[in-house]
């Protein structure tokens, strides 16, 4: 097979409506079978005295008739003068929905098979719906087994009417409705005398008109940051922001902004290995950039171009989800949400509507999504993320939900939720309501301690000297007889956080624990000091909220990248330790945390 363009098509539909037969036909009638395969299978059937079926060809090729049903999507190939095709055969059985989804998600176009005799069935609708959600725009509906309907035009028209109404409701437009017979070969590769009233394309003719995935170069620039590389050990000093460009294009010298952090920078170079030097690059290349200045950004942010329409940054949004997990999608449980390169913790806030799979009418009052349900929900991430609405940019408008290590749901973002409240605010409110106090009040405690409790967070770039300042501050305050404690981050990671897979991944949870810990320590009257490298504004907002009603003081060392949050103090990198601690003490005294004799 030549490396020409390859169009991937998925073939879906209710079980037994004739998917395998159609594929067998397509392979046979385009001359794509290995020599002698057809004869061999026919001979086999004759010997076992069972009637020959085109579907057996597929089974013979895939050698997977273990349960008599297509277990997984498997691929087969054929070609025309025009290009190469890969057919992904997706199983129709409901138990294999996740395989069907996997197959369909990889496709450029889809054939949806409906049995003319049996008519529209549950999975004809469910599959249609999922194709729409997966973003497959090129769908041809094949009304198969037309021989059984005596090739009658009114059968065709009835199904077209009913099914196109359904498709319209879910926002999908079929490219064509093709009456066909897989068994007798009508309208598979070419038209047929039997259906002379039909003027549209045959299946193959329809396939030939489908387009490959567009490059989306004209759209706004989006590159989800997969990683930031620096291979210092290999004597490579480049700091490369790597990812796959989803849409748009960008040039050396262009100004960029990273979302959700809002940090800005400029493209300094486009990097590659064994490839010509480039000044410009666009979707869908997997590439890397160096930036004009060094900034701290996290994998998972989206790199955008200044001047382009930017993604939305929010933590509550309106989505459509289909659920494949064994356990239902429920409220009050933490899930991992993966959208483009971002991974964040998320929760289900509300279910607006659950669709009945067979009728796709809504079921009211459902509190959870069960396996194979499709629903409209509000979800909240524990930290704002950047996303697009799927109608604007698909690749940054869809996500998966991971439950218990498995991808359990897939979804698309259809809007931002208007509601301003958040799960975290609700949590803090509830926590404070049930906070059990001892007999020592905080003012009595502060009176004896001669100072109030305070949470002091140092942040900034890793090597900007934060730790020295923080530890010196602790010692200085301690020597003044104040109750102070410095918590090193590795003490936390090795202990309280040791159940977490990776702090980077579970950063939300890590931050949450620091915040809750701070609430307790400051309640105990302590001046509680810690250092969090590269905390972003959302981390700081969250810490502030979690530590409330007690007070927080944020000290940033090094460049101040914050766009929305303003730290209480800012020091340039490597400010002398003494100078910094004096200033901090000054501020603490001015705001009545520690007595004035301390400075």
């Amino acid at each position: 097979m030549e490396t020409k363009n390859l169009l991937k098509i998925v073939i879906v539909g209710h079980v037994d409506h004739g998917k395998s037969t159609i594929i067998g036909r397509l392979l046979a009638d385009t001359g794509s079978l290995p020599n002698g395969k057809l004869e061999q299978v026919q001979e086999n059937c004759r010997r076992n005295s069972k009637p020959f079926e085109y579907a057996f060809l597929l089974d013979a090729l895939k050698n997977e008739q273990r349960q008599g049903i297509t277990i997984d999507m498997a691929r087969c190939f054929f070609k025309t003068a025009n290009r190469n095709y890969m057919i992904i055969d997706a199983p129709g059985h409901i138990e294999f929905l996740k395989n069907m989804v996997t197959g369909a998600a990889r496709a450029d176009a889809a054939l949806l098979v409906i049995d003319a005799h049996e008519g529209i069935q549950e999975n004809s609708k469910r599959h249609g719906y999922i194709l729409g959600m997966l973003g497959i725009k090129q769908v041809a509906v094949i009304i198969n087994k037309f021989d059984l309907a005596d090739y009658k035009k009114d059968v065709y028209e009835n199904i077209v009417k009913e099914y196109s109404e359904f498709l319209k409701n879910i926002g999908v437009t079929a490219s064509s409705f093709i009456p066909a017979s897989g068994r007798f070969g009508d309208n598979i590769v070419k038209g047929s005398e039997n259906i002379s009233w039909y003027k549209g394309p045959s299946i193959l003719e329809q396939l030939e008109t489908f387009a490959l995935k567009p490059d989306n170069l004209e759209k706004s620039f989006r590159m989800p940051v997969q990683d930031i590389y620096k291979f210092t050990e290999q004597n490579d000093e480049r700091r490369i922001v790597a990812g796959t460009i989803e849409t748009g294009s960008i040039k050396v010298g262009d100004d960029v902004v990273f979302l959700p952090s809002g940090k800005e920078n400029r493209i300094s170079s486009i990097e590659g290995f064994n490839s010509p030097v480039r000044k410009e690059i666009g979707a869908p290349y997997a590439t890397g950039f160096t930036l004009a200045t060094q900034i701290y950004i996290n994998p998972g942010e989206i790199m955008c171009k200044k001047g382009d329409a930017l993604p939305t940054v929010a933590s509550r949004f309106h989505v459509n989800i289909f659920w494949m997990g064994k356990a239902p999608f429920i409220k009050g449980k933490k899930y991992k949400l993966k959208l483009a390169a971002a991974r964040v913790n998320a929760e289900l806030v509300d279910i607006i509507n659950v669709l009945d799979a067979s009728e796709l009418s809504s079921i009211k009052g459902k509190k959870q999504l069960d396996r194979h349900d499709v629903g409209e929900c509000i979800i909240e991430t524990l930290k704002p993320i950047a996303f697009d609405f799927v109608t604007d940019i698909e690749s940054t408008g869809r996500f998966v939900i991971v439950d218990n290590y498995e991808i359990a749901g897939g979804g698309i973002v259809i809007g931002k939720a208007e509601d301003e409240s958040s799960l975290l605010k609700d949590h803090v409110q509830k926590r404070e309501y049930s906070w059990e106090r001892g007999l020592v009040t905080s003012s009595v405690r502060a009176g004896r301690n001669h100072h109030r409790g305070k949470f002091i967070v140092f942040t900034g770039d890793k090597d900007s000297g934060t730790r020295e300042i923080a530890k010196n501050l602790e010692q200085g305050l301690f020597n003044l007889n104040l109750n102070v404690y410095y918590l090193g981050m590795s003490s936390l990671v090795g202990g309280l956080d040791s159940d977490m897979k990776a702090v980077i991944e579970d950063r939300d949870e890590h931050i949450r624990r620091i915040g809750e810990l701070a609430r307790i320590m400051t309640d105990a009257g302590l001046i509680f000091i810690t250092v969090i490298d590269g905390a972003d504004e959302y981390d700081l907002d969250k810490l502030k909220l979690l530590n409330s009603p007690n007070e927080i003081l944020v000290v940033n060392v090094g460049e101040n990248y914050y766009t929305k949050f303003s730290p209480d103090l800012n020091f340039p990198a490597n400010t002398p330790v003494k100078e910094a601690t004096e200033k901090i003490k000054g501020l603490m005294s001015a705001s009545d945390i520690i007595p004035s004799y301390c400075i």
Binding site: T3, D72, K98, T102, Y229, F231, Q234, D236, Y405
Partner: protein, 293 residues
């Protein structure tokens, strides 16, 4: 973007995804054309570097040129090369060439078992020392949780059922019927303790794509793939007692591409030179369920 470029972009994306998600990651390098292309793609993804170890399972029956080629490339590209072997089976001569067992059992001992235990860190790993050019015992015994493998879907039936990120349980077993869904660019990157993930960046490549990419990128490849002067060449590399060559006068990459395009091998499976595939009906699938590559 042409088809080869889009295959490259997808593979690079998958490799970066794997590198981001797995702390303990390794790439299997069989020295053949596919895994060498895979290695090249890693250098693409990581801007000239291979930031994880490359593991080769040496059955001791590999064609000698393969080992020579392996060591040269590893030194030149500064690879962290790790070699594993089933020493016990070799010492006890529990091998097919020694006449004690059949081909499939031999594959199981020298490849599957060796791979499983070397990945898990239970058997010694021999690490290339770049200053001496010799192999030292590796002190790292940590089990690898992410294993990058160069399988292609078009190689053979069972492989077309693979995912890009495919979980294996504690026994390295593969549950073909219950695989995780993969949507868009989202893969299974979370895994329960004790399980590991096989990563397949080359799943969508065909044999021809591989050769066209080798030509385009000028990737050095072992000369065993070319006509040895007697009108024979290897199409797939394995152990010498079980790997046959094909009739071919292709002397270089260009000629191999022309030969593949001519349809000469259209009806002959790529691995048909590998005798072990024929020994039982679903041979490779059985082996693969047990962790064979």
């Amino acid at each position: 973007m042409d088809h080869l470029e889009s295959l490259e972009a997808q593979s690079v994306h998958i490799l970066r995804e794997a590198y981001r998600e797995f702390k303990s990651l390794v790439m299997l390098w069989s020295i053949g054309k596919d895994s060498t292309v895979l290695l090249w793609l890693a250098r693409k993804a990581f801007f000239g570097h291979a930031p994880f170890p490359l593991m080769h399972i040496d059955t001791a029956f590999k064609i000698p040129e393969m080992i020579e080629y392996r060591n040269n490339i590893a030194l030149e590209w500064k690879l962290n090369l790790i070699v594993g072997q089933n020493k016990k089976a070799l010492e006890e001569k529990q091998t097919y060439p020694d006449g004690k067992i059949d081909r499939l059992t031999c594959c199981r001992y020298l490849k599957s078992e060796a791979l499983k235990h070397t990945l898990a860190g239970e058997w010694p790993r021999y690490r290339l020392n770049h200053s001496t050019g010799k192999f030292d015992i590796d002190v790292n015994k940590e089990a690898y949780t992410g294993v990058i493998v160069g399988v292609r879907a078009d190689e053979e039936g069972s492989r077309s059922k693979e995912r890009y990120f495919s979980p294996r349980d504690k026994q390295s077993d593969w549950n073909v019927d219950d695989q995780p869904p993969e949507l868009w660019n989202q893969y299974k990157t979370d895994f329960a303790p004790g399980t590991h993930i096989r990563v397949h960046p080359l799943l969508d490549w065909t044999e021809l794509n591989i050769w066209e990419y080798i030509e385009k990128e000028n990737i050095p490849i072992t000369s065993l793939y070319f006509d040895n002067g007697k009108g024979k060449r290897y199409r797939s590399l394995g152990c010498y007692p079980c790997t046959g060559s094909v009739e071919s006068t292709a002397r270089n990459v260009k000629e191999i591409i022309a030969e593949l395009k001519s349809g000469k091998f259209a009806n002959i499976a790529e691995r048909s030179g590998r005798a072990q595939d024929k020994d039982d009906g679903g041979g490779l699938e059985t082996l693969r369920r047990e962790g064979y590559m």
